[in-house]
Symmetry: C2
Subunit: 574 residues, 2 copies
């Protein structure tokens, strides 16, 4: 391996060389803003995943640094995110009891597995696999996951016990425990939620109005969640609300991220491998779309395969430092970008800030109510929920609509893993189904041109002795029988036909099964005294046909252009 | 349901009306020939499935009659066939011990499940699902199954115990038991195999030479296996070879098919449902290709969905009359057809013949050596084995080759179910992979025509300000990113480009994800001062685009023909 290809795996050399005081100062400002935003967010996502709050901080430290070394996006901020935290809860909830040591180890192992999968996908350049998740399926999944996340946090707002991985389970469990509602917790939860909504919409304009500069106003509005944390913590401490049954974060160890090891138990790995794969792909898709959106604004380039390596090492780092699965988050990356981060060093500075928080601030959050964290999660995920994708796809394409609707229904009704798998499989199956029943158009010549179009849609010139059909699909095993049936049915009902031309302008491939079908069609038509011709066969398809006996057995000709076929096969009037 | 649609499900009314003495006599002759051929074959396939020999006869009686009522093929003969019998052995071998009552019940249940699946597929018109098995995958599977079947019969020729569902297991087990070879069994087995090979190739010409008529010669050669059965049975009886360790069929109950019930145990159904599905689809594919081959010769029509109903009722009949999974067999159908069968009544007469055999001949086959039955199976399946599909696909298409090679390898190495699933999944995955990286050609005008071809393959007219690309694939979620990358890379390296035309003659669909990508491309190019145009957009695609904002946001135009785009966008020299 020479230096160049070695450096390819370390984008840090790329931006590190030109690092200077100006970039440093911009990165530093961004890091402070992001750090303040991440402290409550990290604690909250740990809560969402059912893990001790400190694991949220740990998951935000080492992974950011590793991503800064291996990732290609300059603004992406890596750490726990809502959807992946929910998927983590679903995955490890199946193998361990929440609150046990096994539960934390399962989370650490899941991060390790996910890291290994991402790293392998990056090394083997399998980033294209993410393309098989269609946009509508992703949109539907994120929306449904947002609903599930919000529902899962209601219990903290109400101060009751509830659990479940589907909407029915969650709501049923909450309704069952509704009589246990802790009114003080509900007061804190509802107030915090209302305050945070107001911060999102109303604080920044207010700060601008009272004369603060744009940057300070931005900073102030990002500090809103911190203010909610501080005020509610002080309230619980001051009014001794813990005695009133308000649940608090409690003891959090005051420490740097610990050194941890994923489990190598085959049973555990076996149980977690499929969830790890789904988390990896969903995390990758979420991360890369954020990275590409931000890169496009600055005309920078994202290398998907290198991103896999960056996210893979970040997750492995999470696994060895007491974290859980991480990916590039939308809100934190946008904040990082808007705050002026220029290089991944901003991420490294954020990591230092969070490390300082982990060793110094943790005792102060003993009295932080869980309801406040739940409020930050609810406010964050409600922006993910957007059912308009259902309407958009309904108007545009019923196939896309079915895939979205199924994804949303199965995610809400049967959990995140079933939901995303259903979406992917259904969208692929619908695509295959469509290609197996291709659109076939009978075409004729548009007068005054050399152009051929559908006889049903355009006024075109045709001839009773010539049947020209354009097949709007590659010919492959799933649709060859359909083509055979179409031609036989069409020819039988129409006696004067002497020539059949298959116009191949939309045929991008003819596989072995289709070749055998064409041979059969050729033979059968020959028996009926009809010649079979092809036209507009593409270069790569023709190359392949030339390696077979088919062209020598073909009763008719292969025409470069359909117009040539028309000229030769239609008797001229003039 | 009116009478017409009721009758649609009973093709028997179709041919039954015109039944007369001539058809009867032709059907009768065919039935006698087929019955003689089927007696040893039915016993042999029961042996292959690991079942008592009488079950082979039972499986050939009721199913034939049900198929005669519900099936659409006039010549198809339904009963146990080699590949399905092997798949049956593999499926029930996993849930029960051979020779136990549970084993026979599992076979009966498998037939019931398979019948239910086929019937449901027929009622819901899901026959098209069989199209997703590509021709090369089927060819590879049949070849590999033939090898496995021949290997599984070697133990009977050698007179040893051996078992296994993969080639390695079978050969390993045989080699291990080789010292136990029974020499007398080997003598019978080798002699019978040699004789049957000679019957296949040499008997008919010999009979013709000694002056017999064609039909008698045909009849004589079909009776070859019966001769082998009679001679070896007499030899075992006469020389008391059972005492020498030659294994014989033994006691066979003298009875009509008994009334049996499939098991409704959920555990058993759960274990058998996937094998039942595979057996149904493989059986259907085998049957329908035989039926269509024979129907084409007489210009008759096969309705695939009705065939599913015919095969479904046949399998349900097998399940309730002590049989095991059945389908339309190649050799028996060809014999039936060649012998002059005109209607499905020939099948019913065959059923009567076999019923007579079941009640009268069964005591006579006590001394029939299993080695003789193994010889008939080996000779029959060797005609299935044809590795030339590997060479054909290698020359034509590496994707098809990979699918065949994987099917053969996994069938031999991991059993029939793994093999066929691997083949189907791999061929679909390869198709999806290809469509996710479509062929994109930059095109120019062929001088003197209105036709546009690839600039790399043809001498064409281009213009530096105009980039025209033809995408040889539908645009859908799996390839939209590829298209985006292609256009951005191409535009960035080439400054004078002012217009990009996407020629959509091969674009059969633009799904929601692709629409969003086109919107993104349009915006991005606009930012670079480049206009985006489309040309030759097909009717159905255009209909859909018209329901969106895309066309109003498009910076350029949509041209009916690429030639119009060229005329308008290229500055004229004259």
């Amino acid at each position: 391996m020479n230096l160049q290809s070695f450096k390819r795996y370390f984008p840090v050399f790329d931006w590190g060389r030109s690092y200077n005081r100006g970039t440093f100062s911009n990165d530093m400002v961004a890091a402070v803003i992001v750090t303040i935003m991440l402290i409550p967010q990290s604690l909250a996502y740990a809560l969402l995943a059912g893990l001790p709050p400190e694991m949220g901080l740990y998951a935000s430290i080492a992974p950011i640094i590793l991503y800064a070394v291996f990732g290609t996006s300059r603004a992406l901020a890596v750490g726990p995110v809502a959807v992946v935290s929910l998927m983590t809860a679903a995955a490890i909830g199946d193998v361990a009891q929440m609150g046990t040591a096994g539960y934390a180890i399962a989370a650490i192992t899941l991060a390790g597995l996910s890291g290994a999968i991402l790293l392998l996908m990056g090394v083997f350049k399998l980033g294209f696999l993410a393309n098989f998740l269609s946009h509508p399926v992703i949109a539907g999944f994120i929306t449904a996951a947002g609903v599930l996340i919000a529902a899962s946090q209601l219990k903290h707002i109400l101060g009751v016990d509830a659990h479940g991985h589907t909407l029915i389970e969650l709501l049923g469990s909450i309704i069952e425990h509704l009589p246990d509602t802790n009114w003080m917790t509900l007061l804190i939860g509802v107030t915090a939620t209302g305050f945070l909504f107001w911060v999102r919409k109303g604080l920044k304009p207010l700060l601008l109005k009272i004369g603060l500069g744009t940057r300070m106003a931005e900073f102030g509005s990002k500090a809103g969640p911190v203010a909610a944390v501080v005020v509610t913590t002080l309230a619980v401490w001051g009014f001794q609300l813990e005695g009133e049954g308000v649940r608090v974060v409690g003891d959090v160890p005051q420490s740097l991220p610990p050194l941890t090891m994923p489990s190598f138990s085959m049973d555990l790995i076996d149980a977690l491998i499929v969830p790890a794969l789904l988390i990896s792909i969903i995390g990758f898709v979420e991360s890369i779309s954020v990275a590409q959106t931000l890169a496009a604004k600055k005309r920078q380039r994202i290398d998907p395969d290198q991103e896999l390596i960056g996210l893979g090492t970040a997750n492995i780092a999470a696994s060895f430092t007491g974290g859980f699965p991480v990916t590039g988050g939308f809100s934190r990356s946008v904040v990082n970008y808007d705050a002026g981060a220029e290089t991944p060093a901003a991420g490294a500075f954020t990591a230092v800030g969070l490390a300082i928080a982990a060793v110094s601030l943790t005792p102060l959050i003993y009295f932080l109510p869980k309801a406040t964290l739940a409020a930050t999660i609810i406010v964050a995920v409600l922006s993910l929920i957007d059912f308009s994708i259902l309407k958009k796809t309904w108007n545009y394409s019923k196939a896309d609509f079915s895939a979205v609707a199924a994804t949303i229904f199965f995610t809400l009704g049967f959990g995140v893993e079933t939901g995303v798998l259903t979406g992917v499989i259904l969208s692929l199956a619908l695509f295959l189904y469509k290609t197996s029943r291709p659109h076939i158009a009978e075409v004729g010549l548009v007068p005054g041109t050399q152009h051929f179009r559908n006889i049903l849609r355009h006024k075109v010139i045709t001839d009773p002795g010539l049947l020209t059909i354009r097949i709007d699909e590659s010919l492959y095993f799933a649709n060859t029988r359909y083509l055979e049936d179409y031609i036989y049915d069409r020819v039988v009902e129409d006696c004067p036909i002497k020539h059949v031309v298959i116009m191949c302008s939309a045929v991008n491939e003819i596989d072995m099964s289709a070749l055998e079908s064409l041979e059969a069609i050729n033979l059968r038509l020959e028996g009926m005294g009809i010649k079979l011709h092809l036209s507009e066969v593409k270069g790569p398809v023709m190359d392949r046909l030339e390696r077979t006996h088919f062209l020598s057995e073909l009763t008719g000709k292969v025409f470069l252009a359909q117009y040539d076929a028309h000229q030769e096969l239609v008797p001229h009037l003039d």
